[in-house]
């Protein structure tokens, strides 16, 4: 892929938003979007974990999996790396920055099962990104995810005072809103294509 890392970064935020275009990372997106502060905390944690694990996974893939011909095990290996890293990160944050741990700590375990993280790891392989491109793509995807969950959290806060049909309350209306936001994001897709 001879696409510049800079373009990739912006494209990952707007034209190929990990959540609104690929619908990855939905579970925590739906469940933690009730309050803007929590959504922001989770989003920041996602950005950080996404950048570091994607970089780690890129190294693991090209320096361990490829040379030893066990590329077919990438799913398992990526998940193990992500899980181990999140655990590790939690330990470090808890020890050295208690304040950050209290605001971020409870979201970290949630990230292990966030499909957006694994999704980015798999995209970088399929699309044959180099290391720099991977980091840029991961950063862009993380920021895109944060933006999406913040938008939903903002809308849901307004929605609290509105009459929503009983059957649609909660996840139902959130999915409809997400769909409409995704339609809106199609407007960006003409700028650049990264598939």
């Amino acid at each position: 892929m001879d696409i510049s890392a800079f373009v990739l970064f912006w494209a990952a935020i707007f034209t190929g938003n990990i959540l609104l275009t690929y619908f990855l990372g939905m579970c925590s997106y739906l469940s933690i979007s009730k309050e803007i502060e929590s959504a922001f905390g989770l989003g920041v944690a996602v950005i950080f974990v996404l950048i570091v694990t994607s970089a780690l996974n890129w190294l693991v893939y090209y320096y361990i999996l490829v040379p030893f011909h066990i590329v077919y095990l990438q799913y398992i290996v990526f998940i193990i790396v992500i899980a181990a890293f999140v655990q590790f990160l939690e330990l470090i944050i808890e020890r050295y920055t208690p304040a950050l741990y209290y605001s971020l700590g409870i979201f970290l375990p949630l990230i292990t099962v966030n499909c957006a993280i694994l999704g980015v790891g798999l995209f970088m392989i399929i699309r044959q990104y180099n290391f720099i491109q991977t980091v840029a793509f991961a950063a862009g995807s993380g920021i895109g995810w944060l933006m999406a969950i913040l938008m939903l959290a903002g809308i849901r806060r307004k929605l609290k005072e509105k009459m929503v049909p009983v059957g649609l309350r909660g996840a139902g209306i959130s999915l409809i809103i997400t769909g409409i936001m995704a339609l809106g994001f199609i407007g960006f897709s003409g700028i650049v294509q990264i598939q």
């Binding site: 929590s38 066990i70 398992i76 181990a84 590790f88 330990l91």
Partner: protein, 368 residues
């Protein structure tokens, strides 16, 4: 081909082992908080290994703060005051704390981690809470859905409680129920008996613990419990007493009466017991015996759904109208209520509004 497979498995395991090793080492270095001190009520200092929750650190030291959910932060029973060293209130605690509690430094002890020296404030009574191992000695059927179960404590253990307090029974997994649960039951035996306790347990449809007690427990089974908890206990005053109970709520009342029998009293006491039909009445003979024993004690069973066929001669309907004859002086009357939340709410309201009994003189234990 086989070698290829084995090689891959070895590589895979290698990656796993390396990551696990890193984590184990990291945990060693990072989660080692050394020894920290928990200062309780400004008096007692406990030295514990840091890094665990306050609840479990305390229970390792044989101090049992009540907890119904087992430290998952869902029941809110394990509240205690953390004066210093608890860190900020966590998002997991907020839903279970009121504004007043937050201002008062109240925290959920299952969520607070002990990482540095910490100062806490807990009621003195909690020091008496112990964990007991017991064997079931006797199971009596009081009615079709109420059993009296006697637990004999293991050698060397003895329980110290006030008449009216409760214990938390730990169930063992059975049938489809895979988890241990803890449920609270009032002690129905008197505090003077210290090597065994009796609980009165009514079968609640779908109830995890009551079903376990009613269908699984046999004489000779081993059961663990912690206790004694609660601020529902007999106050040592000279005031008249109004006991009101429904269903299995007679347990703490029985304990109080048996205790009064031991220590002697000339207080005026009336016990209203609410039941549906004659089939739900139990401990009648014991109550009649108390009437004989005490100078001024009356037992008044009231049936709400007595049928013609039962030929019930006693009182019927709601309990509240009958309180009139039992209350001599509202200012000098204490009420002890034990029963369903609905009953407690209705009786409390009536005692305050219709009979003028002060709210702080009404003690109750509600089955949540």
């Amino acid at each position: 081909m086989l070698i290829r497979i084995l090689e891959d498995i070895a590589l895979m395991s290698g990656i796993g082992v390396i990551l696990a090793l890193i984590l184990v080492l990291a945990q060693r270095w990072l989660s080692n908080y050394g020894e920290v001190t928990i200062n309780i009520n400004g008096k007692r200092d406990l030295t514990v290994t840091g890094g665990n929750s306050l609840l479990s650190s305390l229970s390792d030291e044989q101090i049992f703060i009540p907890s119904a959910c087992g430290g998952r932060g869902t029941c809110g029973a394990c509240k205690c005051q953390v004066l210093e060293g608890g860190g900020p209130i966590l998002p997991t605690e907020k839903p279970l704390l009121t504004k007043a509690e937050m201002a008062d430094n109240v925290r959920l002890s299952c969520q607070v981690k002990v990482k540095s020296d910490i100062k806490i404030q807990i009621p003195e009574a909690i020091f008496n809470i112990r964990r007991f191992n017991s064997v079931i000695e006797e199971i009596v059927d009081y009615t079709y859905d109420i059993k009296g179960v006697t637990f004999k404590l293991n050698e060397g253990q003895s329980i110290d409680f006030k008449a009216g307090q409760y214990v938390q029974l730990e169930t063992k997994p059975y049938e489809k129920i895979k988890q241990k649960v803890m449920r609270a039951y009032s002690i129905s035996s008197k505090p003077e008996i210290r090597d065994r306790i009796q609980l009165i347990i009514r079968l609640v449809p779908e109830g995890v613990c009551t079903t376990w007690v009613h269908t699984q427990l046999k004489v000779g089974d081993k059961v663990d419990f912690t206790g004694a908890y609660g601020d529902f206990y007999l106050r040592d005053t000279a005031a008249d007493i109004l006991f009101v109970a429904g269903g299995s709520g007679s347990a703490p009342i029985k304990s109080m009466l048996e205790h009064l029998q031991e220590v002697g009293t000339n207080r005026k006491m009336t016990y209203f017991f609410g039941a549906r039909t004659t089939k739900d009445l139990y401990l009648d003979e014991e109550m009649r015996a108390f009437e004989e024993f005490f100078d001024d004690f009356e037992y008044v069973p009231v049936l709400s759904h007595a049928t013609e066929a039962e030929n019930w001669q006693g009182k019927t309907g709601y309990l509240m109208p009958y309180f009139k004859d039992a209350i001599r002086d509202p200012k000098n009357t204490e009420a002890y209520l034990c029963g369903s939340p609905g009953m407690i709410a209705a009786v409390t309201k009536s005692l305050i509004n219709d009979y003028g009994i002060a709210e702080e003189k009404i003690y109750y234990d509600s089955f949540g």
